[in-house]
């Protein structure tokens, strides 16, 4: 049987990945997804402990986590929509006027890399005689 610490280790990895995502990403939606990832790691821990102790309290806690996550998702996504309507972007740094006093402003000095140019679609070379067009055909 796979024992308790193995599941705890997997939960720890998920939690840490979510933490890093929350700290680094600047997209509001990505930050929120990372928070949900942390919750997944915690829920895995609860269920593993429930199995190890042989009672259902851990599973009940995981259920409450799901309920709270659903509330969070509803409210947070509504707020993201409002924020997007105000600034037309999901970048969290656009709201840095709300930061604590004494924290330095984030300035993006390096320009973003240019989008790779898409190859133009192939165009057939014209050959032969162009057929006469009649205006009335399109009417």
């Amino acid at each position: 049987m796979i024992s308790l610490p193995h599941y705890l280790a997997v939960g720890a990895v998920l939690f840490v990945l979510g933490l890093i995502g929350f700290l680094t990403r600047r997209n509001l939606i990505l930050m929120f997804l990372s928070a949900e990832l942390m919750l997944q790691g915690v829920a895995l821990n609860f269920v593993a402990f429930s199995r190890a102790h042989g009672n259902l309290h851990g599973q009940v806690f995981a259920l409450f986590i799901i309920a709270v996550a659903a509330c969070e998702a509803g409210i947070a996504l509504a707020m993201f929509l409002m924020l997007y309507r105000k600034k037309r972007s999901l970048d969290i740094s656009l709201w840095q006027a709300l930061r604590d006093p004494g924290v330095e402003e984030t300035r993006d000095t390096v320009p973003l890399p240019a989008e790779p140019k898409e190859e133009p679609l192939p165009v057939l070379a014209t050959s032969g005689i162009e057929p006469a067009r009649k205006e009335r055909d399109y009417a």
């Binding site: 308790l4 990945l17 990505l30």
Partner: protein, 368 residues
């Protein structure tokens, strides 16, 4: 419990942590274009290292069963797609990766005998929450490259902080759940207790007549043995209050007995070739360590715990700890008996959240 244990650090934890940190740092969005091959390579090394740590780290042999295969498959999927989620440039793809993480976690829930939770998580998370995410992503689509998706905030510091935390968690787990040095100490003490003749390496050579008054040194083997016993004792000892009304009397008495036995071996038995004392002391140590270990890992219960005067203390039985087979009805019973108030509150919370979300997202119409 951790402060006293002095077992060596298992260095296999370093490989997954360092390689994983490099992989995540490398794959996070940045203004420099980086070929993804190196990130993927470091990620694969980290995954292999994590699997090796899980296989060897906790001192129990993993049987080659379907369960083990499914566990490693689901957790590998979850970790890979979690990494892809936090490093992805496209939020829609990140949301779909998160759906796969949720599905893999549901597989782990099923392995942990939680079928109801698995179904609920699939329906609510993968079904409802992620679809809502996709709607919001669709509603707030941006054209072209954006600061939000192509830059990260302080990736170096965040990755270092995260993976230092991960290393601490993994090492902590290993220290708590790895009983190998206690087991070997018990076996060692038991072998000495059972041996007809004590090996001469343990016994100090008797001093010649003219040095009679001087202290007799212990042999190297004996010192190693005593050190091993002390380490094992430190591992199973809990820093508990030692007052007279300490509820863990058994516990405290056992620790004292083991300490006395170790001191007896050190001060007398090994030096004066007292085979009888060696046998009884080693027997005491082996028995005490076994009992303390079983108390710590939960396979035995305290015998003389003082019950509170406010009624019966709920005890977990001594038998095998098993979850009820009828998961759904058992969860229902727990929810509506032990957690009745909590579930009412959760329902209220959901209602309030629904009203709040509608109030926030409502578009203000100019009435004119």
């Amino acid at each position: 419990m951790l402060a006293d244990s002095s077992n060596d650090l298992n260095w296999t934890v370093l490989l997954p942590v360092v390689a994983g940190g490099l992989a995540v740092w490398y794959m996070l969005p940045s203004t420099k274009r980086r070929p993804m091959v190196f990130g993927a390579l470091a990620g694969l090394i980290a995954l292999a290292g994590l699997a090796a740590f899980l296989v060897s780290g906790f001192g129990e042999k993993i049987p080659q069963t379907v369960e083990a295969g499914l566990f490693f498959g689901f957790s590998g999927l979850a970790v890979v797609f979690a990494t892809l989620m936090i490093t992805g440039r496209n939020p829609a793809r990140s949301a779909l990766s998160f759906a796969i993480v949720v599905l893999s976690t549901c597989g782990l829930f099923l392995l942990l005998a939680a079928p109801f939770l698995m179904a609920a998580t699939i329906v609510i998370y993968a079904g409802a929450i992620i679809v809502t995410f996709l709607f919001v992503i669709m509603l707030s689509q941006q054209e072209g490259p954006s600061n939000a998706d192509l830059r990260s905030r302080d990736p170096d510091l965040a990755v270092v902080a995260g993976f230092v935390l991960l290393a601490a968690l993994l090492v902590g787990l290993e220290r708590v759940y790895d009983w190998r040095n206690v087991d070997s100490a018990i076996a060692h003490a038991q072998s000495l207790a059972d041996a007809e003749q004590v090996n001469g390496d343990y016994l100090s050579p008797l001093p010649p007549m003219e040095n009679m008054g001087n202290p007799i040194p212990l042999t190297k083997k004996a010192e190693e043995f005593l050190g091993e016993m002390r380490t094992a004792l430190g591992r199973v000892k809990v820093a508990a209050p030692r007052t007279a009304d300490d509820r863990r009397l058994t516990d405290h008495r056992l620790v004292q007995e083991i300490e006395n036995a170790i001191t007896g071996l050190e001060m007398w038995a090994f030096k004066h070739h007292d085979v009888e004392a060696i046998h009884t002391n080693c027997e005491t140590i082996a028995k005490g360590l076994t009992r303390l270990k079983n108390l710590r890992n939960g396979s035995a219960t305290f015998e003389d715990v003082v019950r509170s005067e406010h009624g019966e203390v709920k005890t977990i039985g001594n038998g095998p700890k098993q979850l009820p087979a009828a998961n759904v009805s058992a969860i229902g019973r727990t929810l509506f008996s032990d957690y009745l108030l909590a579930i009412e509150l959760a329902g209220t919370l959901l209602l309030v959240a629904t009203v709040g979300a509608i109030a926030i997202a409502r578009r203000e119409r100019k009435t004119s």
